[in-house]
């Protein structure tokens, strides 16, 4: 009987293992660590904490980097000039930015298209009129819109920062890149169409911050993080209020429960049996 049981269980185990190995052999997973991209380290962003707002001076510098560097190829479709007001620029500064540009106006009485200077409600214009133009100008690669890029990539801000600062001087030995591609270990697959764009001293900050590569990368990442999550500061302020109110109500509810149940839990029953005659 015992022997039968042992033989039976060995048989079941063997069959199960064979079945699982066979199932596993049906699919091949070619993804290697390099194809996933190097995982970025976790950086200590000044807005990381539960109650920490963005560093708005950094957002302002980041806008300058976006405008002078990134905007040559990348659009920022979901940010209007008005969004900058009270965040990184004053109303008059944002108005001045918008008025430098021309936007489509209502056609005149004869139906001819007209142009007008921009206003606060206008959105930041894209560098290319459409996707085909963007691809044609970039060897077939489409520069992604940056409005939500921090939310749209694994690793968020850490990834963007690592990507911008992570271009090695030469690709490692043995890596073959398609023509026009650059090597970046943080980019999944390693072959990225965008080349290294940030070099020390590329922009000149108005507040005198030294424009090193990592400073510009940090500022533009903070700016893009704000573009992805403009609600961050208000959300954290409301979160603090909600935490205080909800935890107070929770503690009060515990107290009320104990208060109400105290006499019920503490009472004692006594049974006095009727006396037998």
């Amino acid at each position: 009987m015992t022997q039968k049981l042992i033989v039976g269980s060995v048989g079941v185990t063997g069959l199960t293992t064979s079945y699982l190995l066979y199932q596993d052999s049906l699919t091949a997973n070619a993804m290697t660590a390099a194809e996933h991209g190097l995982h970025p380290p976790a950086y200590g962003w000044s807005h990381n904490g539960m109650f920490d707002t963005f560093d708005h001076a950094s957002i302002r510098r980041g806008y300058q980097v976006y405008k002078e560097v990134c905007a040559a190829c990348h659009s920022l479709d979901r940010i209007a000039w008005r969004n900058l007001v009270g965040v990184s620029h004053s109303t008059s500064e944002a108005k001045a930015f918008a008025e430098e540009l021309e936007y489509d106006d209502e056609p005149d009485d004869e139906g001819n298209p007209k142009k007008r200077p921009g206003k606060l409600a206008d959105y930041i214009p894209a560098p290319y009129p459409n996707e085909q133009a963007a691809r044609a100008a970039n060897q077939g690669a489409l520069p992604p819109d940056l409005s939500l890029i921090v939310k749209a990539r694994h690793g968020g801000s850490d990834y963007i920062f690592s990507l911008l600062t992570g271009y090695p001087d030469d690709p490692p030995a043995g890596v073959v890149l398609p023509p026009g591609a650059n090597y970046n270990p943080y980019f999944p697959g390693g072959s990225i169409a965008m080349g290294r764009v940030l070099f020390d001293g590329l922009v000149e900050y108005e507040d005198g911050t030294p424009a090193t590569t990592s400073q510009m990368a940090k500022d533009v990442t903070t700016f893009l993080n704000w573009a992805s999550e403009p609600d961050n500061d208000e959300r954290k302020r409301w979160g603090l209020k909600a935490l205080i109110v909800v935890s107070s109500l929770y503690l009060i509810s515990i107290w009320v429960k104990r208060f109400k149940w105290q006499p019920i839990k503490n009472r004692k029953f006594r049974f006095d049996p009727p006396k037998k005659n």
């Binding site: 707002t53 708005h56 001076a57 965040v87 004053s90 603090l240 205080i244």
Partner: protein, 63 residues
Amino acid sequence: MASLITQLFQRNSIYVATIFAGAFAFEGFFDAGVTAWFEHHNRGKLWKDIKGNYLEGGDEDDE
């Protein structure tokens, strides 16, 4: 004190009105307190703290 509470509970309209008014007053003070702490915690990072560095002579029209 006891008479005040009796007064409060005597009429439902007064009871409910007191709760509403109390909530309104509480939110005002609570929000001011939380915001004060929050802005102190993040001082130097907020736009209202840094805008003086960029604007000459008080740009009045923010927000």
